[in-house]
Subunit: 235 residues, 2 copies
DNA sequence: CCAATGCCTTGATTTCGGTCAAAGCCCTTG
DNA sequence: CAAGGGCTTTGACCGAAATCAAGGCATTGG
């Protein structure tokens, strides 16, 4: 898992008047004249954890920037088995251009704030501004790289390696912080890694008893031996 | 797995003089004037199965269109465990724009023919032609959709469902053909599905003894009961 | 304060798929 | 034709993770 805070950092920060938030999402790709128009049609939303943002096979009529919080993208089989196929952080763009029907579910994993734009406006701007498409291409390529790394984890790693792979990139190497809040419940981590809750729980206790991590309040994790943890993430 | 023959079909067919092949790959996105230039710098290559096209952590100096055959994209762990993370068919674009180092391996799974372009030329054209970027965005979004479906298979399906999921979309619904050549060896199918060769083999024999498929010469598969097969692919 | 609820942990048992080992089949090559 | 090698199949066994089942520990609300 990767907490992206640096993507799009080249974008121009913009005040979306209607959502009253400075952010660097999709707006940042546009030139100031266009931005004024976009600002007027955008709207800010605050969303509780657990709320469904986009339903499977549902028509999508808007795109959003994630301003804060974590959005999980999931896919389910008919019998209820579920797999998380993506996590989106600020300032990611949320939505699938060029397709009216969504094939995935998007749900707030934590409290989430979004800045939304009507579908038609974004699509018009995409036609008019190659910069916007360029930015979108870059995000999509990054998501594809991420998905492919993840496929190795899902297909070829053991439960221990999977859990370590989940914890490992969650630590931000930039801030050098070894302590953080898990953005997901055990159930979500299980759906992320293709495991059961019980296996996730057991692996975390094992890391705890082996002295590699400390866990407080079920959510706050401190990694005490990063090198040894990295060794378990499967190179 | 999806055999894509229809992507980019909106592209203008172009004669790449130097590779002497009419194809609809990346060229199709460009206007005729640009195409003349591109044709002059492109070159056609025919590649034997098993040959490595792009090595992990290798600098990539060219992009290609797949003209025929199947290219497998793989990622490996340090101890040799391997996962196929993508398959590319004609007329897919092969290469990762905006990144000099490749994080994946590309290898010819069958005999492959490619039309290659120097990296610099494509990047220049990408800056000049929004059409090219648009086409690339669309392919990337499709690959991302594919990767996410695949993640459900890797993370949540049983061995039987995985093998059925592999066979199912291989049948082209357009041609209604229930008979086809497997483009991959058992080992490749295993690396595709996150299984071992033995498990793949056992699942195929089971489908055979259950009368759902017939296999000739190890490679030629005929699906005799499509509906029952679909039921095993996990909805 | 005491249920009640949601989330997490722990234990006992089962099972699916992996591992190890041996053979079969097909195609090439001498 | 025989030998060899690559790929595939099959069998016996094992083990990692799933399943089934309790129980713990917070927070919430009557």
């Amino acid at each position: 898992m990767t907490v992206r805070q640096d993507v799009h950092s080249a974008g121009i920060p913009v005040l979306c008047q209607s959502c009253e938030a400075r952010h660097r999402g999709v707006c940042g790709a546009l030139d100031p004249d266009q931005l004024v128009g976009l600002a007027k049609i955008s709207s800010k939303h605050t969303i509780e954890p657990g709320v469904e943002l986009i339903g499977d096979a549902e028509t999508v009529d808007s795109y959003s920037n994630v301003l804060s919080g974590v959005v999980k993208l999931t896919k389910s089989l008919s019998d209820g088995r579920q797999q998380i196929v993506g996590l989106q952080f600020a300032p990611d763009f949320l939505g699938r251009p060029f397709k009216v029907e969504s094939a995935i579910n998007a749900e707030a994993a934590t409290a989430v704030s979004l800045c939304s734009f009507p579908r038609a406006s974004i699509e018009r701007m995409m036609r008019e501004s190659p910069e916007l498409e360029h930015r979108l291409l870059k995000q999509t390529l990054n998501e594809l790289d991420e998905a492919r790394d993840w496929m190795v984890t899902l297909g070829r790693k053991t439960a221990a390696e999977k859990v370590a792979s989940f914890l490992d990139p969650t630590l931000d190497p930039a801030t050098n912080a070894t302590s953080f809040e898990l953005p997901l419940t055990r159930a979500d981590i299980a759906d992320f890694l293709g495991l059961t809750i019980e296996t996730v729980s057991r692996q975390l206790t094992r890391l705890r008893t082996d002295g590699l991590i400390r866990i407080e309040n079920n959510r706050h994790v401190t990694v005490t031996s990063l090198t040894r943890l990295a060794g378990r993430s499967g190179a």
